[in-house]
Each structure stands twice: as C-alpha cells, then as structure tokens.
Amino acid sequence: MDLTGAGSTLLTRDNFLVVELDRFQGPLDLLLHLIHEQDVDIFHIPIARITDQFLAAIQVLRSDQLEGAGEFLEMAATLIRIKAQMLLPRQEGEEDQDPRAELVHRLLEYEQIREISNCLKTAEAERGRRFAKGWVPTRPRPEISDTPLETTWEDVWEVALQVALPDPADRRHTLPALSVSMEDKVSLIVTSLAEKVRVEFSRLLCGFEDKTHAVMTLLAGLELSRRHEIFLRQVTPFSELWLYRRREDDEGPPTGGREPVPEEPEIPRGTRRRPPWMPPEEDEPADPLAVLDVDSDDQGADTMGWETE
C-alpha cells in the first residue's frame, strides 16, 4: 500500500491535526481520538476524511519504526477498503449492509472497554487506599518448624539416589588445627593401652606438634578416667604422667609402695602399630574422617570438633 503519496499531501492540508502517536494504545485508540476530536457521529463516520487523517497521522510511524506499526498499517488498509466500498454503487437486492458496520462495532466495543478500564482504574485506586495487615509473623518468635515445608519425598529420593561415598582421591587433604577431637584422643589412648598396661602421656603426644593435641589428650585421659576405663598417675609434680589400663577386676591405682617399674614402658619402637587415626610420619593422607573439606557448601564454622552437648 502506498501511504507516502496520500499521506504527505494530506498532512499539509490537515496539518491542524497534530497527533502524537506514542499516546495511543493502538489504531482503534487513534481512530476514536480522530472521531472525538472532530465531534463526528460514530454511526456516520465520514470515512474518506477520517481515512486521510489516519494515514497522515501514521506517517511518523514509518520513520520511527515503532513497535506495532503493522497494526496501524492494517487499520489503514481496512479504512482504504471501506472507503473504496463506500464509493461502489449499491447493488439491487443486496442486503443493505453499510461497509462501515464492522468498524463501528469495533470502535463502540473498544470504547466500552476503555470505559470499563476507567472503572477498574477507579476501583484499583480505591482498593489501594486500604491495607491488609502487613505480613508479619503471627507470633513473636515463630519456630522454623512451624512453617510448612514444600519439599516432597520425590525431592529427597532424587538426592538419595545420588549419594555416594566421595572418592578418597578427590578429598582435599587439609587438616585444620581445630579438628582435634576428643574422640580421636580417647581412641588413641584406648588403642595404646590395648597392647600395654600403661603408657606415658608424653608418648601419646609424639608426632603432634600443636598444643591443642596435648590439651585434648589430657581431657581424653580425664574422661576415660571418669568412666573408670583407665587411671592416671603422676608421682611428683611435673614428672611424667602415666596412663594405666584398668581391668574389670582392678580395684584402683597401684598402691603407693609399688611404683611403676621402669621395665614396663619399653616397647620395640619399630613394631609399634600405628593406630589408624594417627597421622603418620610421611605425608600421606591421614585418617579420612579427620579430613575436613572446609571449602564446601556447608557452614564451615561447624567443624568436626568436640561434640558439645
């Protein structure tokens, strides 16, 4: 369709009509505007004039490449078609159908929709003046467990299928200083005492540089003593602290007169079994259980430290 020719001439002739297309929501909106501007009876639209004005108005569309230009062009085509039909002589016997009928119908309907839109706008504004209680917890301190859980069993199941033991090769071998656990030390003492009757505290610290190990070992010793699994003995202040295995039939520590005889502690160094939890002298990975991947997704603060109760 050639809009350029018709449009440019009409624009000069009807340039009293300045139309900002951005203001319009579409071709029907623009048409209604043109009709109302000129106080035209919607049922008797002067189709030739309105068509010319419409074409002139959408000139800007072509240059601006506005989104929705096609809709305006489509309407332009419809108007041109109606204009042409209006010029044709009515044939005898044919239903007296005004070519404008559909357009009028659409315009009326659209106008109605706009009226309803305005009603909605008013209702929206009125409703907007009233407020529901802002969402607040219904109680001062709601338990997290009070909130509904949307997780389904399927969610759990899917993850369950993925659970696999991590490949030991993938594990990062960082041993944070804080990961000294009393469990480890209890285990160290118990294992050491599995082979012998008693063990020196200092020997339990062999290979552990950090002071934390000493503290935890002492605590483990006290704990085992409390549980009557071992007893502790130190002859004089600052002398070696001995940890003794306690058998079921044991009554208590050896009596004062029978101090530990020196022959006990000696063990062939080379044959001492390295407990599995004890870091070996070499740089090979230590006990995987003591290995903590601190960079992982979990809250890193909770390390494998001493389980508090």
Binding site: Q25, G26, P27, L28, D29, F43, G68, E71, M75, D96, Q97, D98, P99, R100, A101, E102, V104, H105, R106, L108, E109, Y110, Q112, I113, R114, I116, S117, C119, L120, K121, A123, E124, A125, E126, R127, G128, R129, R130, F131, A132, K133, G134, W135, T138
Partner: protein, 193 residues
C-alpha cells in the same frame, strides 16, 4: 477463648482473603454460618470501638483491611507494601478478559486492535488472570479468565461487582464470535447502526 476470637485470630493472621468455609477449618466447633455470624459480630465491635480497620468482604472471602481514610498517614512508610498500579494496556486487557471470560488471545487482540501477548503474560505473572480452559477451535487456543487475586486487587467481592451488563451498551452484551478471521462473519451480523 470464644468463637469470635478464634475467627478474629484467623482473619488477623492471614495475608489473603479467606472464605467462610476456610476459616471454619480452624476448629471443629465452627461452620460457615457460625463464622459469618462471628464476622458480623467483629464488624460491629470494630465499628463501635472505632478501630482503624474493618472486616471487609473481598474476593469471595473476608479480610481485615485498614479503613480508606487512613491512607494519607500510611503513605510515608516503606514498610507498608503497596501493590503497583496497572498500566493502560493492562487495564484494557483485563477489562476484556473480565467481561468475556473465558477468552482467547486472538479475540482480545481483535478487540484491542493490538498484539497482547506480553500484556497477558504480565497479568498472568501478577496472578490477575490465568488460563482457565482450552478453546474448541484450531490449535485449541488457551482461554483466559480472571482470578481471586483480580477481585482482591480491585476490591470486588465477586465478579458480579463489576459494572453491570445492563449499564453497558448493546455491543458488549452480545457475545459475537470474534477472531482474526471473524471480520467477514461480523459484517454479516445485523446492522448495529
């Protein structure tokens, strides 16, 4: 602890309108009638004690809302959530859907004369409209209708609260089949002139 208090607690704690039968679920001693009676009691109590809020019938349910005249005092609080207003195209599209539901996109676009896919999606995102059925025609088009949220957003009790059909001109009351290719059919409709 009496029934009115229980109903009040439930209404108070909810962040959306609740139907009487939903409220009744709070306790075995309640049913729909009892709840509605309790709500009338609350409405009277709030009125008598000049509370700044009321129990309002809304979106086929009940909700406690502040009275409109306090709006000016609430304006400056950013802790008070305000729903955003709809745009012109949004309102137009919603008007068409509200009056002609269930309705497909093509018909909406015919009435508005412009493409509406984006607007409909926005309205769906805001839960004001939703797909309510599929059409019979080619491709079984999606048909849209309004939601409870729509009623809530505009403060309507039900869809009957919309301006009544009698108040509308002839054209809208007639459910003429509309569509992209309905132009021919339309011109053969009885003359509206």
């Amino acid at each position: 602890m009496n029934i009115t208090q229980i109903v009040e607690a439930v209404l108070f704690a909810s962040d959306a309108p609740l139907k009487a039968e939903e409220i009744a679920r709070a306790d075995g001693s309640l049913d729909e009638d009892i709840v509605e009676k309790a709500i009338r009691t609350l409405q009277a109590q709030y009125g008598d004690s000049e509370r700044s809020f009321q129990v309002v019938e809304l979106a086929e349910g009940f909700q406690i809302l502040t009275r409109a005249e306090f709006d000016p005092y609430l304006e400056r609080f950013d802790t008070i959530p305000r729903p955003s207003r709809l745009s012109g195209p949004g309102l137009e599209t919603l008007a068409i859907i509200a009056y002609r539901q269930p309705i497909g996109r093509i018909e909406i676009e015919y009435v508005r004369g412009v493409a509406c896919g984006g607007v409909i999606r926005t309205l769906q995102d805001r839960a004001l409209v939703d797909v309510v059925a599929r059409g019979e025609g080619v491709g079984r088009p999606l048909l849209y209708g309004t939601t409870q949220r729509f009623l809530d957003h505009f403060g309507f009790r039900s869809i009957d609260d919309l301006p009544r059909a009698e108040e509308l001109p002839v054209v809208l009351r007639e459910r003429i089949p509309l569509g992209a290719e309905a132009g021919d059919r339309l011109t053969s409709e009885p003359d509206h002139g």
